[in-house]
Amino acid sequence: MIAGLLRPDSGRIVVDGTVLVDTARGIFVPKHRRRIGYVFQEPRLFPHLTVRHNLLFGRWFTAPAARREQFHDVVSLLGIEHLLDRRPGALSGGEKQRVAIGRALLASPRVLLMDEPLASLDAPRKDEILPYIERLRDEARIPIVYVSHSVAEVARLATSVVLMSDGRVDAVGPVAAVFGRLDLYPKTGRFEAGAVIEAEVAEHDQRFGLTYLDHAAGRITVPRLEVPKGARVRIRIRSRDVIVAVQRPAGISALNVLPGRIVEVARSDGPVQDLRIALSGDSILARVTQRSIVELGLEPGREVFAIVKSVAIESASTRLAPPSEEEGVPRLLDL
């Protein structure tokens, strides 16, 4: 609907002040005049054109004054220089999707719309492309609407999250705020429940292959990250990887013991409950049994220690945090 492939029964779509759809006023801008860079689930490259001409396709239809992206910048950002003279039939799935991203970008769109761009790829291909999407977000000054069912992808890439289920918006907000909420996990799937927090790289430990992060609540140890000292990173800690202790434990292999205070206990009937623990401003989630809650007296206000194994903090969820100001957030979409 944002791109104009579907016509909504009713609603309004505004991108950066330009009305694309307003059923009340009978406005429907056709897809070729919307300048929405659409990256589809499957690459949809033109098989009869070389990669170069695929990339330049949208540029032909962009007025010279509106061309913001430089061909060579986009090509090197996506690492596709060596593919330019080939045809799409000869590319791997990951390469095709990178070319598709470049093609959408070179049409100098108002907003880049990525509709599950990784869904049709296997895990190694996803890992190949994700860094490029991160660079895109950080370097190309263009808002991105990224549609995904993968909580891990969203936690890694998003600045703001709109959580939708059954066609309704359940939550809107910065990624840490939305993932820190307990009441949303029935929607995202309990297995994926986990909070997102940000921290700064303090130092790297060469000997043990670790990286230490500074967080207001204390030092967080994670497997080595290939990011410079001082960089801000975002990590996702799944609630099932967190142990809660009422005293500071000793003689324990887990390297992260963070003091905090329980602020919320999810109310549910099952044997397992989620807790939200405030850690100096941020919060993380912990999944414990009903029995532990009763035996340890885990209730809001209780001072506890959250224990996280370093190895449970996956490097996949560790990345450069996007700029915290709101400039990367598209002003759009009241649907």
Partner: protein, 231 residues
């Protein structure tokens, strides 16, 4: 093999010219009609489909006779063409090309239509989001991807015109050097005593031309397919 006579050479040349122009002249119409039939939703589509296929089913003599009625010098369209543009089709080689084009039209449309139907509409959507309007989507995406069908359709039309006999002889007759094509020349030779040798020679020429056309289109189609599949 003895030298060809002037009459035989004229028949060979005329056949090639007729088939070439029948193919080329009907191509734009063939693409448009195929597009309308493959994509269009309009009232009377089944009727148009039937009309296009009619020459395939009708006895060629009937088609030729209808052409004579419509495009003859006193036919409604023929008269208009002659008065407005000075174009006369009846009993000219151009008329033979028209007859060939009409007879080959259903084959050409079928081939192109099938090819259009296999084009992935999602690619056209993608082109649309990149800023291409409907015309450019057609010119830059749909048409190139239809190329295999267009090549096949052109060959079928060419081959049909080359072999066309019934409609041609009815519409433009069999005037040596003017409207006598290979097919009608062979027919004429078989009707005169002692013409067997000449008929056989022209038969051989027909086989060579047909084979060459088949091979050329196969090579072309292979190149197109290879391009679409990647290097």
């Amino acid at each position: 093999m003895p030298e060809f006579t002037a009459e035989e050479l004229a028949a060979i040349g005329l056949s090639l010219r007729v088939a070439f122009w029948a193919m080329l002249g009907s191509l734009p119409f063939g693409i448009l009609v195929a597009l309308a039939l493959a994509r269009g939703r309009f009232w009377g589509k089944t009727f148009v489909d039937g009309l296009v296929h009619l020459p395939l089913v009708l006895p060629p003599v009937v088609t030729g006779y209808l052409l004579l009625l419509l495009f003859g010098r006193r036919g409604p369209i023929g008269e208009l063409l002659e008065q407005s543009f000075g174009i006369v089709l009846a009993f000219r080689w151009t008329g033979a090309a028209l007859a060939g084009a009409i007879m080959g039209f259903p084959l050409m449309v079928r081939a192109i239509r099938l090819s259009i139907e296999t084009v992935d509409r999602r690619l056209e959507d993608a082109a649309g989001t990149l800023g291409a309007n409907r015309f450019w989507v057609f010119a830059l995406v749909t048409l190139p991807l239809t190329l295999p069908g267009i090549v096949a359709g052109m060959l079928l039309s060419f081959a049909k015109s080359l072999g066309e006999f019934g409609a041609t002889i009815t519409f433009v007759s069999n005037i040596p050097g003017q409207t006598q094509t290979l097919a009608s020349a062979i027919y004429a030779y078989t009707q005169v005593p002692g013409g067997d040798a000449q008929a056989l020679r022209l038969t051989f020429v027909s086989i060579v031309i047909s084979m060459a056309a088949l091979l050329a289109s196969e090579l072309l189609a292979r190149r197109v397919r290879k391009r679409l599949a990647g290097d």
